[in-house]
């Protein structure tokens, strides 16, 4: 059990154990268009949950509901509860910034801060949340976060270069390092590998594998092999024509892929859909 920093800052949480996340009856709208209907899913601590399903069925929307990014869209509304370690994150007493710090997010398109150096990108989360850190702790944190995102070896001699100078795959791993640096309990990943080559994809998958001990991971992916490789449990989303999206079937990954109960799940995971 390694304590990184001053515990009072909230960042000193031991690096073991992610948070458990539970979505209860989530419905979501954009304007009057209902895109999710009463979706419930349990995402236990320290498991990797994969969300799969055809395009437009509401996976990204569901993911963004989980760390309150959904409400950034002006017309967006929602109903239901999201429990992080048993507490509803939409309860009025909860600070939205604190919630987002505890539930990190990696986006489909790599989005490092292009003008900041690689090192500053990694510690951007600390700066943005007003967390002070000593110089030596900062260097440790940069090295450790980049190592966890398996990027350290490639960039250790160029930490002062701007984040935009990296390749797409490296940028995505930098974004993962940046999210890990604030030590989240949950990490949400929305198709993190869709812009990456097979080698970088492999690296990200290894990273997911390693951080699973400390962080609960929820990942959206269109790649069935990837879902099978990285996740322990899996949820299949579907929005049948004209109806809001929902979960058709969820359970252990080996069951979803090996012996799905629902015919539609079986068709989808075997690539026989539409």
């Amino acid at each position: 059990m390694t304590v990184i920093m001053d515990t009072s800052s909230g960042i000193g949480r031991p690096e073991t154990g992610g948070g458990s996340l539970e979505a209860r009856n989530i419905s979501a709208w954009f304007g009057s268009n209902k895109v999710l209907e009463r979706v419930s899913l349990d995402m236990p601590a320290n498991t990797v949950t994969a969300l799969i399903g055809p395009s437009g069925c509401g996976k990204s929307t569901f993911l963004r509901v989980l760390n309150r990014m959904h409400e950034l869209v002006p017309s967006a509304r929602l109903n239901g509860e999201v429990l992080l370690d048993g507490m509803d994150i939409y309860e009025s007493g909860h600070r939205i910034t604190e919630t987002r710090k505890r539930i990190g997010m990696v986006f489909q398109k790599p989005n490092p801060f292009p003008a900041m150096s690689i090192a500053d990108n990694v510690t951007a989360g600390l700066k943005l949340t007003g967390t002070r850190i000593s110089r030596s702790d900062r260097e440790d944190l940069i090295e450790r976060s980049l190592t966890r995102a398996s990027l350290w070896k490639e960039v250790k001699d160029r930490l002062k270069e701007p984040g935009a100078a990296l390749s797409g795959g490296q940028q995505q791993r930098l974004c993962i390092a940046r999210s890990l640096a604030v030590d989240p309990e949950v990490l949400l990943m929305d198709e993190p590998c869709s812009a990456l080559d097979p080698t970088s994809t492999r690296r990200v998958e290894e990273t997911i594998h390693e951080i699973r001990q400390q962080v609960t991971v929820v990942i959206v992916t269109h790649n069935m092999q990837q879902a099978a490789r990285v996740s322990q449990q899996c949820a299949f989303f579907l929005a049948e024509s004209g109806t809001p999206g929902g979960i058709v079937e969820s359970g252990a990954t080996k069951d979803i892929f090996g012996s799905p109960v629902d015919k539609r799940t079986e068709d989808y995971v075997n690539g026989r859909f539409g």
Binding site: M69, G104, F113, G125, T129, R178, S179
Partner: protein
């Protein structure tokens, strides 16, 4: 891989062929051709008109520069009847009015732009945008009248207060006793300060519009990245929006500075002309290049006219330089790179 490459590498060098790039005829449809020609013609005529103005003013200035030489820039008084004239005082006055205008307009424009692009709810947003646009549509004579009749009676109190409390700073000094009884209407009126406030209202909409547009172009991905890390909205603005919009902030400010330097009618209405070099904007009396031209144009003889046109030429060159700098800064910045 290597197997495939080796034969190619080992192959004898092919006989040298002189390659000429083939011509690619774009074969534009007629409508495109017409549009292209018309657009090009209009574009060129804009440049020609600008150039013609510059050449005309330049030619008109030659006799004046011949006659007065460099003293045209160092002489402060404007007395064509005694054959002494120069633009030192009016240049200082021009920059003082513009400086006051920018000191007021910059923070207002920046906060208005940030509020509109980052905080306002969608409905409020479009309302505010049209209000700012409306503000730009108010004729400058109206701003002048506003400044003279409505602003001045209030602003002299502000000027008096600034003098009383900050008078030890030369910039806020006024050559009078702040505690003298009938101070109102006397030494604080008709000043560069009051003219500057009126000018600031005129340049504010343009600065705010340029800034708002670049702020709203800040990439959504970076904004969301900052927020997803647990940033407050202000933290996100500081790390994403402001660095991204820096070119627009500088460019918009300089564009409005260019306009503030040339503003005429509002200044003429408000100031009382004075031709001494001073940096005391709160004090009565100043003059600007354009106010000088407007004031003396009617009664000028041909030699005086040439001198006034020379003053105009100097102003033209200064604003041209400032606007070119502004355009370069906007184009070099990240936000302007793909905006043109």
């Amino acid at each position: 891989m290597t197997m495939l490459l080796e034969p190619a590498e080992a192959a004898p060098a092919p006989e040298t062929v002189i390659e000429v790039p083939r011509s690619i005829d774009p074969a534009l449809p007629i409508s495109d051709k017409v549009f292209f020609v018309v657009a090009k013609g209009i574009g060129i005529s804009v440049l020609v008109i600008m150039g013609a103005i510059g050449v005309f003013l330049g030619l008109q200035s030659i006799p004046t520069f011949r006659r007065y030489g460099f003293s045209f820039f160092t002489e402060s008084s404007w007395q064509p009847e005694n054959d002494v004239l120069g633009i030192a005082a009016v240049l200082v006055g021009t920059f003082t009015v513009a400086l006051v205008a920018m000191l007021i307009a910059f923070p207002l424009a920046l906060s208005a732009a940030l509020y509109i692009s980052e905080y306002a709810a969608p409905k409020v947003k479009s309302f505010l945008i049209s209000m700012v646009d409306l503000m730009a549509a108010i004729p400058s004579i109206v701003w002048g009248l506003w400044g003279f009749f409505l602003l001045q009676p209030k602003a002299i109190h502000v000027a008096h207060w600034l003098h009383t409390h900050l008078g030890w700073i030369p910039f806020f000094h006024v050559d009078t006793d702040p505690n003298a009884a009938p101070w109102a209407q006397s030494r604080y009126a008709a000043s560069a300060f009051i003219a500057g406030i009126a000018v600031s209202m005129m340049v504010l909409p343009m600065a705010a519009a340029v800034m708002r547009q670049v702020f709203s172009q800040a990439p959504i991905g970076e904004r969301e990245a900052a927020l997803a890390l647990g940033s407050t909205r202000w933290g996100m603005i500081r790390t994403v929006v402001l660095p991204f919009g820096r070119g627009g902030i500088i460019g918009g400010t300089m564009l409005s500075l260019g306009r503030a330097l040339g503003e005429t009618i509002a200044v003429v209405l408000i100031i009382s002309p004075a031709f001494d070099i001073k940096f005391r904007p709160l004090e009565i009396g100043t003059s600007t290049v354009s106010a000088l031209i407007a004031g003396r144009f009617g009664e000028a003889t041909s030699a005086q006219l040439s001198a006034l046109l020379t003053a105009g030429f100097v102003l033209f060159v200064i604003t041209l330089i400032i606007n070119t700098l502004a355009a370069t800064i906007v184009a070099r910045s990240r936000s302007g790179a793909n905006a043109d």
